[in-house]
Assembly symmetry: none
Homo-oligomer: 209 residues x 2
Amino acid sequence: MRTERGDWGLSRLARRASKSERQRLLQQLVREDPLLTDQMLARKLNVSVQTIRLDRLELGVPEMRARARQVVERVQGRVKSLGPAEVAGDLIDLELGVGGISILETTQEMAFAKTGIVRGHHLFAQGNSLAVAVIDAEVALTGSARLVFHRPVRVGDRVVAKATVKRVIGNKSIVRVESRVDGEKVFSATLTIFALDQQDLEAQKGGRQ
Amino acid sequence: MRTERGDWGLSRLARRASKSERQRLLQQLVREDPLLTDQMLARKLNVSVQTIRLDRLELGVPEMRARARQVVERVQGRVKSLGPAEVAGDLIDLELGVGGISILETTQEMAFAKTGIVRGHHLFAQGNSLAVAVIDAEVALTGSARLVFHRPVRVGDRVVAKATVKRVIGNKSIVRVESRVDGEKVFSATLTIFALDQQDLEAQKGGRQ
DNA sequence: TGCATCATTAGTAGCTGGTCCTAATAGCTT
DNA sequence: AAGCTATTAGGACCAGCTACTAATGATGCA
């Protein structure tokens, strides 16, 4: 690499690197700071703006504004939580203290735009809502849970969740939820749910457990 | 051009709102999507581009490129003046492959009407989204999770979720999420997340790695 | 009724950060 | 000397702005 061609090596500013070296550097620079304009890059790499443009073209590096847009879209798209009123699925069967079934029609908004795969928390939302609904108490709160996502769910899939109360120990219930698409298991969870009276709640407002 | 003043009933946005209402909407729109240009806003709000410019001037809303730049800078970690009351339910810090922080402002719709306690799956949704966002891959999917709800969260609480990548084994990452309200832990989870890197997608981006 | 003020729209000039194209030049290599 | 690559220059054009001037219409109000 360092076998120079010509020895104009002692330029007054930084020595100019070879083309490939410069392009490697360019990629690194824009990765570190996507907001660098061609002009800034030209100054840093000690070449003309036109050369930077040619390099970007060759490397397929998009212009600054597009790079910024990409970052924004990535951030915005990724932190999309549950929609406002969206509480998970239609109850189609419910036997208090025993079990229940709900159905969730999946839509675009629930999925990653890129892949059409439904975000995991929507499956949990369905299961959690159902599990809480199944508990025969004034107020029921989820204490802990273990989840397994067996297979991706795609937009348009109809998810059928089935909850069964496995055990009741005092005010604590263990609920098992299994969700299926076309009979195939896609999600399962075991939840610990606490049944509370209003008094318990009042007590909790002040003190910590 | 538009001689009439009373064409109510077409669409919600076809009608022209009052100036203050329009400006309120404008602020909301740019907060939801910082990449909207003046032209797009003008169409959405059914006024001219010039009116949008005047509104932005009055409201101190910066131009689109500046808004994009702000988001990028915030995400890059060169946090400027992260205002306390400003962000609601979005990402405030993100370092790919390492960790991130998001804030969720809880609302009525997220809670049980009876108790004002936020439904557990919203906390998981926040944590899950954040965990997926920190993974440095084109596509990331949650494989399994263990959740603990330490204390109920009430409507109005501001939930700060912090995610940390604990371990990476092949395409599998273990991410720990802890959510707090006023410094007190309300929720925690350990998630296993799978990174699905699509080679062709990478190649399409110009050989950047 | 007339006049002032506000809201909205139109249009101009100029800026940044680009794209796309044509050319010229420098420095090898054959 | 001819051919090649790399680099630089310049012009025409574009989107999305800023900053300014000006016209028009509705509204208030004395």
